[in-house]
């Protein structure tokens, strides 16, 4: 029921909002949560429990009410107690069979005796029937429903910085924030509620002071998701995440009020006293008319005033404590409310025709005999608190159990982490204020602002928490975990079965594994375990506290999801020429250039033939490009590559292979000597970044007199190749194009400084032209223009793959894998074991003495081969065993044959012998071993000097 306007209520009555829940129309106000609006309208059943589908109402109104999860259109698992009401919302309860009102799933409650803790481990594992049982479980499991039509949400993240981060805007947090700010620190204060103030619900001078303070930045409606190393705390706001980096963190996160455990403690209408207070003060909602208050601390008695103000009749106060402090007892007496001290509720009962609580049975603590049956439509529980210490645990705090306040408190805090208030075991309001001041001052001083103020905080005189708010009952249904529908007996049984430490008990029973992650259940479970094993809560300990404090939407975590892309300077030329793109790491490369009316294969073949018969141009700018200078530059290269470079002539290039320390081939490229002490060398596209890092690391260790510069992005590179290539280039360069095969020249091309290397990768006369990136597009254009008369075609990665295969050149990572050594790949000739030292030498020497495991050979299929051709990685089969695999294979238009490279067992590599390849459909193909290169075996075309 809605109350008359409360001072400082959070609802705005001038903005009524209509919404639907379970097909019925309701209304509330702006500032309501979904739950408060429903309760205001008299609804007490907000959802059904996970296992037994029992009707459930509000428990905490503090974002722990997993039984009030709702489906809002395509959004699953909306928390009704923490979600602001929006006009037009159309909500349904989750995980009901049928409707919330009539859920046949509740019949499971009748079977609860058949469903003890871990029941699903004890049965349903008949091998034949399990798939059937699994279908049944899957039909019943899960809460909300995903909607495949939901579009990707982009919620931008941002970083944030402060000196002191205060987590929690209740009394102690506000006090800490002010104290820190007053000492000069920049403070960020975060609270998950819509307003600051904690249990004062926003109505306080303290709140006003904090809001007004210029050095305090407030984040409300936001929570600290976790504590990560170096005081990094992501703040999850409604629309995004702020990744806050602080220099000190004050955890003033408070405590979770805990439920009492008695038979049917889950009936709608039974809630935490703090939940009732929130409803009354924030939303002007009266959740019940006649209530029984179950008490065990001073908080319960302070709350009585709120209940009275709301016109709630308190039938009786049942206090678990034998001796109720005089001041508290007096309050009750003054209002004419009967007090049952040393008593407990043993059972709650619903009305016959309703699901809501209608009466409770009371007995003396420890006795079975019911001494009273009290009619009520609500029970407010105030029996204790569990600290919201997750962030403290994650920061590495050593917590200890304090017998004075019956809770875990920080024992040893890490540097820069402070705690105050209820999470620190301080509960009295005046003390919380002081404790916050103490912690805020210390945090600011830690950051270098001001001095630590010595503020004494009195320890609590009485415990705010009852050490055993739990009542057994032979008929059960006394719930410890409302998310998972776990009863007291479930935990006792789990312990009895041997799951008798805190982690095993959790995993077997699933206590604390639901969406609220044990906020209302872990403490009671821990107490049960301690008692059952004759131990203490401190010795039993807690399970690992992991992020997140509340579940975080994936959209918030993903943020924009930056996926950087690299493009060569000729990127747009390729696009304009019809390039079909293929990703190469973060780069985009043309796979081939589409020609209208031609298939992919035809385009690739056309490009390859253009290179063979005319001239082609390919952008090889994604290659790694490195430059090394210095008196020991040659020495450095001697050490990192397997071949010799000390004697490489100035103006010449040499193929280069790099191995790791175990002798495995890592990368290849070309080394060009531009001067005695100046080399320019290339790596594969995918190897570039890692190789530069690795070379830098080596030189840090070796300290050779040389310097390495990474020019990968700074240089554009293209390969002009074909019998007409020289003609195209003539006139565009001042370099003498009779330069010998494998030579390198520095000169001008199209008016820009360039490095030209006569290379042989594709097997035709060709030069690789490297120019500074800013000139790449212009040089490309000029070459394409000059080439028009010669029928020049741009060619892409696939054509290049084919051309190099015709020459028998390997591709690292395709014709080699994570274990290939040079000899296996046919690179024995490149290995110079007689060098003084190179990376991998020692391993290669050891391996040289061992029998080779495999050998890469060239093969061809018979002329006129019909049927499917092998693909890469089809296996070579010999004697029914795996004897190798194909690594590269293609139809060569120049040779009119299928050609390829394959690993075979040593002994199978004799030229003109044949071997068998097995295709995916198990058919076999015969391949003949041939020498490579397949095309122009004497390399006349690429070496030609005329």
């Amino acid at each position: 029921m809605r109350l008359p306007p409360q001072s400082c209520e959070w609802v705005d009555r001038s903005q009524p909002l209509g919404f639907r829940f379970e097909g019925r129309d309701y209304s509330g106000f702006a500032g309501d949560t979904v739950a408060s609006a429903l309760v205001a309208s008299g609804a007490s059943v907000l959802g059904r429990s996970f296992k037994y589908h029992r009707p459930r109402g509000l428990l905490s109104a503090a974002n722990h009410d997993v039984n009030a999860l709702m489906q809002w259109g395509g959004t699953p698992n909306v928390r009704a107690d923490a979600t602001p009401l929006i006009a037009g919302m159309d909500l349904k309860a989750v995980n009901t069979f049928g409707t919330l009102a009539r859920d046949p799933g509740s019949a499971l409650g009748w079977f609860s005796r058949l469903l003890p803790v871990g029941f699903y481990y004890k049965a349903f594992h008949n091998k034949r029937l399990f798939p059937l049982w699994e279908r049944m479980f899957r039909a019943m499991t899960g809460l909300g429903r995903v909607d495949f039509a939901t579009k990707r949400l982009h919620t931008p993240k941002r970083y944030g910085f402060c000196d002191v981060l205060v987590v929690g805007g209740g009394t102690s947090g506000l006090s800490a924030a002010l104290a820190a700010a007053e000492q000069g620190a920049q403070v960020a204060l975060v609270d998950e509620n819509a307003r600051l103030g904690g249990s004062t619900h926003g109505a306080s001078e303290l709140v006003d002071k904090v809001i007004a303070h210029p050095r305090i930045r407030v984040f409300t409606d936001a929570y600290a998701a976790g504590y990560y190393a170096d005081h990094w705390v992501p703040l999850v706001e409604r629309g995004r995440i702020t990744k806050m980096r602080a220099h000190a963190v004050v955890v003033a996160a408070g405590a979770f009020e805990q439920p009492a455990v008695f038979r049917c403690n889950d009936l709608p209408g039974i809630m935490l006293a703090s939940a009732a207070q929130r409803l009354i003060r924030r939303y002007a909602v009266r959740p019940a008319q006649r209530v029984v208050v179950l008490a065990a601390n001073a908080d319960a008695y302070r709350a009585l005033q709120d209940f009275a103000d709301a016109g709630i009749a308190v039938t009786a106060v049942i206090d678990l404590r034998d001796k109720v402090p005089g001041e508290q007892a007096a309050r009750v007496a003054a209002q004419g409310i009967p007090l049952y001290s040393g008593h407990c509720i043993v059972e709650a009962l619903p009305a016959a025709d309703d699901k809501r609580v209608a009466k409770v049975r009371v007995a003396a603590l420890g006795e079975a005999a019911v001494v009273a049956e009290l009619a009520c439509d609500g029970v407010f529980m105030s029996v204790g608190w569990a600290p919201a210490a997750a962030l403290l645990y994650q920061a590495g705090t050593k917590m200890r159990y304090d017998d004075g306040v019956h809770q875990f408190v920080p024992g040893q805090l890490p540097d820069g982490v402070f705690a105050c208030g209820r999470v620190n075991g301080i509960h009295t309001p005046e003390s919380r204020l002081l404790d916050g001041e103490r912690a805020g001052s210390a945090a600011a001083a830690y950051c270098g602002f001001g001095e630590v103020r010595d503020i004494a905080v009195k320890a609590e005189m009485e415990s705010p928490t009852h050490p055993w708010p739990i009542v057994s009952h032979a008929k059960g249904k006394n719930f410890i975990d409302f998310d998972e529908d776990l009863q007291l007996a479930d935990l006792e049984n789990a312990i009895q079965e041997g799951f008798d430490n805190i982690e095993l008990m959790k995993r077997f029973s699933t206590v604390g594994m639901g969406p609220s992650q044990g906020k209302h259940s872990n403490m009671n479970a821990l107490r049960v375990l301690a008692r059952a094993t004759g131990s203490t809560p401190g010795a039993v300990g807690t399970t690992t506290a992991r992020p997140f404090f509340h579940p975080v939407p994936m959209s918030h975590l993903a943020g924009r999801g930056f996926t950087p892309e690299r493009r060569t300077p000729m990127h747009h030329r390729h696009a304009a020429a019809g390039a079909v793109w293929m990703p190469a790491g973060v780069w985009q490369r043309p796979e081939y250039y589409a020609v209208a009316g031609q298939s992919r294969a035809a385009c690739i073949e056309g490009e390859a033939l253009a290179v063979r018969n005319g001239v082609g141009l390919i952008d090889v700018g994604t290659l790694g490009k490195l430059e090394i200078r210095g008196p020991q530059a040659a020495e450095f290269l001697e050490r990192v590559y397997i071949s010799k470079y000390a004697g490489l002539k100035v103006g010449m290039t040499r193929y280069a292979v790099m191995c790791d320390e175990s002798g495995v081939v890592l990368d290849d490229g070309v080394v060009a000597r531009l001067a005695d002490e100046h080399f320019y060398f290339t790596t594969t596209t995918s190897g570039a970044a890692a190789i530069y890092r690795e070379l830098s690391r080596w030189n840090t260790l070796w300290k050779l007199d040389c310097g390495i510069v990474n020019l990968t992005g700074a240089m554009a590179a293209m390969n002009l190749a074909g019998p007409r290539a020289k003609a195209v280039l003539e006139g565009l360069t001042n370099v003498d194009l009779s330069l010998p095969f494998l030579a390198v020249r520095e000169g001008m091309v199209c008016g820009v400084p360039a490095r030209l290397m006569r290379v042989g990768f594709v097997g035709e006369w060709g030069v690789e032209i490297h120019v500074p990136a800013e000139h790449g597009a212009a040089v490309w254009d000029a070459l394409m223009e000059a080439g028009k008369a010669h029928g020049i075609r741009p060619f892409g990665v696939e054509a290049q793959r084919l051309l190099r295969l015709e020459k028998g050149h390997i591709i690292i990572g395709q014709d080699t894998d994570g274990l290939t050594t040079p000899g296996e790949a046919g690179l024995d000739w490149a290995v110079k074991l007689d060098k003084a030292f190179f990376v991998g030498q020692r391993s290669l020497m050891a391996i040289a003495g061992k029998p080779r495991r495999q050998q890469l050979v060239g093969f061809m299929l018979p002329a006129g081969h019909q049927g499917d051709a092998p693909k890469e990685c089809h296996l070579v089969i010999e004697g029914g065993e795996i004897a190798g695999r194909v690594t590269s294979v293609a139809w060569s238009p120049s040779l009119a044959r299928h050609i390829g490279l394959a690993y075979v067992r040593p002994g199978m590599d004799a030229v003109d012998s044949s071997f068998t390849i097995r295709l995916s459909d198990k058919s076999l193909v015969t391949a003949g071993v041939v020498k490579t290169p397949f095309y122009d075996p004497d390399n006349l075309r690429q070496k030609e000097t005329t």
């Binding site: 931008p156 944030g160 007004a212 629309g239 690299r566 493009r567 990127h571 510069v709 990136a773």
Partner: protein, 172 residues
């Protein structure tokens, strides 16, 4: 005026050099050499930045001086950057959404140079102030340049369009 302006200054002449002999070599060319790592000094029409311990970037007409003959321990670094100058009242918000460095904590009088990553791309950033508003000069590898520019302008665009709810007591 809440827009963030982007100026593409990629074509400004610039040159780089690194190595144990670089600092002395630059001094011998009559260029002022920043003493502290990751700091910069103004030059007529440009600047000289010390990147880490032994690498330097010279921008502006003075960059032509780096074509001088090399000395031992001096290695030229070809600079082909995408270079941008960003300016505007809401620049800090853009930086907060794209980079993990706390730029506002830097003391501009020490002329800091920040080597970091923005939107996942390695970037060199020099923060500054102009006309009372924050500005910064950013360099990144030009092969990332297009994507980098598109992404930053997207983020800037979203920022200047959005109306984020103001927080209680916000002062930033």
């Amino acid at each position: 005026m809440s827009a963030i302006t982007f100026e593409n200054v990629s074509h400004t002449p610039r040159a780089g050099v690194k190595g144990p002999g670089a600092a002395a070599w630059l001094a011998a060319l009559d260029l002022p050499v920043p003493r502290a790592p990751n700091s910069w000094l103004p030059l007529p029409g440009g600047l000289i930045a010390r990147l880490g311990l032994t690498e330097f970037l010279v921008e502006g007409s003075e960059a032509a001086k780096l074509a001088a003959p090399l000395a031992p321990g001096v290695y030229p670094v070809l600079r082909q950057d995408t270079a941008l100058v960003l300016h505007g009242a809401r620049l800090n918000e853009l930086l907060l959404e794209t980079c993990s460095v706390d730029f506002r904590a830097l003391d501009l009088s020490t002329r800091p140079v920040v080597l970091t990553s923005m939107v996942g791309v390695g970037a060199t950033v020099i923060p500054g102030e102009e006309g009372g508003m924050p500005c910064c000069h950013i360099w990144c590898d030009s092969t990332y340049g297009e994507w980098f520019f598109e992404t930053l302008t997207d983020v800037a665009g979203e920022l200047t369009q959005s109306s984020q709810p103001r927080h209680q007591g916000a002062t930033s």
